[in-house]
């Protein structure tokens, strides 16, 4: 209830902080072009947490890296894509301009904190470096600020900890240190790519609490990427479910778990071994996530979908409004639910602009 309201009220307050439209990231290989991210669009508003959830290979991390401008050859963000952050078009940025954004506007936290820290410098050194480069704070002032940052991420005895090296920190503390480093740049948006996946549950709980506190204190927008439905339910206001490079369902977190509409989301939620005890049997999804190497002229989930019908292989589903209160859409030919099959297909074709699908689908009931 309350989280839905926050999700909505954040949206009323004007423009999105990050607006991704038609994002397409491809990887060129000798044999084929892999469409790791294929026409993904979503918004992040100030102060809210947007989750992206999906299995490995669904393109969620590539989405994050595309936003950060970290896609290198043979990967390419196609020119039709648009990523607007604070009103600026990031896709047009040069490397130097991008570095500027990464240093101030957008911070990123990765799964493995060890990779974001240099093992031969002390934690203090690394935070002070971030302060110097991004905010021109040096000397005693920097040490003071670094202590404050380390305290703000909940590291006890912060002043002494500044002089320690990353190996002297435990996994959870290292992740805290990385978050402190990221905060040194005073970002508006934090992209967290599986930040708690490598941690134990009790430490994961600490980090999730920390992120929520920081968000409240600093009105930070968070784009949270994970494969864990439990974590998504805990931290996000709104969720995008990704499958094979595409977003298949968008909803507020309550709606997503209460009324999942896309067959994939339903299957995913049902396969979590949650509150069930022994003997109840787990629902599984047959088959594997496909590699998205062909253009999306069909529904990529169709081969594994229990509700697939003839047209699913022939036309690409569009996002259809399925919710009552806040924005809730699913890309599936089963919707709009109240219409007959022929009507539904026409609706999708009209949304796609008509020229997307050439095959005429027969109008059977």
């Amino acid at each position: 209830m309350s989280r839905e309201e926050t999700a909505e009220s954040a949206r009323d307050e004007g423009d999105p902080l990050l607006s991704v439209r038609n994002l397409q990231t491809v990887f060129h290989t000798d044999r084929e072009t892999i469409r790791a991210v294929d026409d993904v669009s979503f918004d992040v508003y100030p102060g809210e947490t947007v989750g992206i959830v999906g299995e490995s290979g669904s393109g969620k991390s590539v989405t994050a890296r595309s936003i950060m401008g970290l896609v290198d050859s043979p990967g390419e963000v196609l020119p039709e894509s648009s990523i607007r952050f604070n009103g600026q078009e990031l896709t047009a940025f040069s490397d130097a301009e991008y570095r500027e954004v990464r240093g101030s506007g957008i911070g990123m936290v990765f799964q493995d904190p060890q990779q974001s820290l240099n093992p031969v410098y002390t934690i203090g050194n690394q935070i002070r470096e971030a302060l110097e480069i991004n905010r021109d704070i040096t000397g005693a002032q920097a040490t003071k600020e670094a202590t404050k940052l380390l305290e703000s991420v909940g590291i006890p005895d912060a002043k002494r900890r500044l002089d320690e090296h990353p190996h002297e920190f435990s996994g959870g503390m290292r992740q805290r240190a990385v978050i402190a480093m990221m905060l040194a740049c005073e970002p508006d948006l934090l992209i967290a790519d599986e930040p708690t996946t490598a941690l134990d549950v009790t430490i994961q709980a600490q980090i999730l609490d920390l992120l929520k506190d920081l968000q409240e204190e600093r009105n930070l927008a968070i784009l949270f990427i994970t494969h864990d439905m439990g974590v998504i339910a805990d931290i996000s206001d709104r969720v995008n479910v990704m499958y094979a490079g595409q977003i298949v369902e968008k909803a507020s977190v309550e709606n997503l778990f209460e009324r999942p509409e896309h067959p994939y989301t339903r299957a995913l939620i049902e396969s979590i071994p949650g509150e069930h005890s022994r003997g109840e049997g787990l629902n599984t999804i047959e088959g594997e996530v496909p590699t998205p190497n062909a253009p999306a002229d069909h529904c990529r989930f169709a081969p594994r979908c229990p509700q697939a019908f003839g047209a699913c292989d022939k036309m690409a589903p569009q996002h259809i409004d399925v919710g009552e209160t806040v924005e809730h859409t699913a890309a599936c030919l089963l919707y709009p639910e109240d219409k007959a099959e022929g009507e539904r297909l026409k609706h999708h074709r009209a949304l796609a602009g008509g020229d997307d699908v050439k095959t005429e689908v027969s109008n059977d009931e």
């Binding site: 600490q206 439990g230 299957a267 005890s277 049997g281």
Partner: protein, 445 residues
């Protein structure tokens, strides 16, 4: 949901004890004169596994659960204690006897990437244990491998493929087939699904359940994912810092956990349901080093239900939290050794490297209303730290604030039906029970 009543049927039939572990210890290092104290990975655990059941073993990383699993199949030598398998103590087996026994107990590893040899075909990998044990004739081995491939849901033509041609889930199936090759009775599954996606995870779990039924297997299922454990296990044991904290039937542990650690662990699992605003107990800090575990209860440094000493009952929660945090800081400092220069300075009384402890004290206690009988001791300790004697400061704090939990190891108390056991001082009649304490202490935060 409440299938707690149905489960015992299955185990009752197969009822007898397969594995009986008594006071098992596994310590690493610490033997030589110059070595520091040993790492106590497993520090005295006793439990039994019934034939045909799945015992879940959960805990955070570093709690010793994998070491325990490896010791049970003799991949590690036990330091102390006995493991009796079907009546024979396997810790003393050697030579041919050991080799013959090994057929009975196999292991499936977490990471299917690294536990399969990339230069062998899948067929060779699964056949290797058969070859090593000279199992029947060559053609029979071949047939056995093909059988195994089908029982784990792979196809016969996969025999000649290499591991890298498979997905994570399929590789884990290969690992399972290899473990099953010699028809073992007992399998240690060390985080077999942790590296897999949810949808693949569900398939492997289903496979393991089917295989258990088909071949009458007994499982020790090691995992840190408590949801998976709830799904697959008949009984669950919870470990922390080398010690078993609680053991009972799965539903009893999940629905009615008695141990403060189990309760914190369960409350920390994020629920895939945003409408439950379940009460989360966030534990402070990280587990202490197994090289230097607390003298009392292993969990005492982070416990939300820790027993306070007589005479400090009037002190409120926030102040106690601050005291515990301060003790942690001092403990950390007492572990660091001073440089020669600093030691010299300490002799001369001009030592100043630790003056920043005052800042920590202000941070922790600044906003609180600290009673004088607490603040005087904090000041004494801070003074000792500043003089460069953090070890003395630690001792001073210990003398003042130690309660039962810091001073002695708890016993393993029976706390309910189905041999529900829990390792905590609070089960003694002298102390208040766990539940009201946790509810009271965590409600105001």
């Amino acid at each position: 949901m409440n299938s707690g009543i149905e489960q015992p049927e299955q185990t009752a039939q197969l009822g007898e004890t397969l594995i009986e572990v008594e006071n098992l210890k596994k310590h690493y290092g610490g033997g030589g004169m110059f070595e520091s104290s040993s790492v106590k990975a497993v520090d005295g655990v006793s439990f039994s596994i019934q034939r045909g059941e799945t015992l879940g073993l959960v805990g955070e990383s570093g709690c010793g659960k994998s070491t325990l699993g490896r010791t049970l199949v003799r991949l590690e030598e036990a330091t102390e204690g006995t493991i009796s398998f079907d009546g024979t103590d396997i810790t003393t087996l050697s030579g041919d006897e050991l080799k013959t026994w090994r057929r009975n107990a196999q292991m499936v590893f977490q990471d299917p990437e690294s536990s399969l040899n990339d230069r062998m075909t899948v067929g060779e990998i699964i056949r290797e244990p058969l070859d090593a044990h000279d199992w029947k004739t060559k053609t029979e081995r071949q047939e056995r491998v093909l059988d195994l491939l089908t029982s784990v849901g792979l196809r016969e033509e996969h025999y000649y493929r290499y591991p890298h041609q498979f997905s994570g889930g399929q590789r884990q199936r290969v690992g399972i087939a290899r473990a099953l090759a010699l028809e073992p009775e007992f399998l240690v599954l060390d985080e077999p699904v942790s590296a897999l996606d949810v949808s693949v995870q569900a398939k492997i779990i289903t496979l393991l359940e089917d295989l258990q039924e088909e071949f009458d297997l007994t499982y020790l299922f090691i995992a840190h994912d408590l949801a998976v454990v709830r799904h697959i296990c008949d009984r669950v044991a919870v470990m922390y810092l080398g010690k078993m904290m609680e053991i009972s039937d799965t539903e009893a542990v999940y629905a009615d956990a008695h141990n403060p650690y189990t309760r914190s662990l369960l409350s920390a699992i994020p629920h895939p349901d945003p409408s439950t605003s379940s009460h989360r107990i966030t534990l402070p800090g990280t587990p202490p080093s197994p090289r230097d575990p607390p003298t009392g209860c292993q969990f005492s440094t982070r416990c939300p239900a820790k027993i306070r000493p007589e005479g400090y009952k009037h002190v409120d929660e926030a102040v106690w939290d601050a005291i515990e945090r301060f003790r942690e800081v001092v403990r950390e400092r007492s572990r660091m050794s001073l440089s020669t220069v600093d030691r010299l300075k300490r002799q001369l009384g001009s030592f100043s490297a630790y003056d920043d402890i005052d800042e920590t004290v202000t941070d922790l206690f600044g906003d609180l209303d600290v009673p004088t009988d607490v603040s005087e001791h904090i000041e004494t300790a801070a003074g000792l730290v500043k003089e460069g004697r953090p070890a003395d400061a630690r001792d001073h704090l210990n003398d003042t604030f130690n309660g039962a939990c810091d001073l002695k190891r708890p016993d393993f108390h029976p706390v309910g039906e189905h041999n529900h056991m829990s390792y905590c001082h609070r089960h003694e009649s002298d102390y208040e029970d766990v539940t009201p304490v946790i509810t009271r202490r965590t409600s105001d935060s």
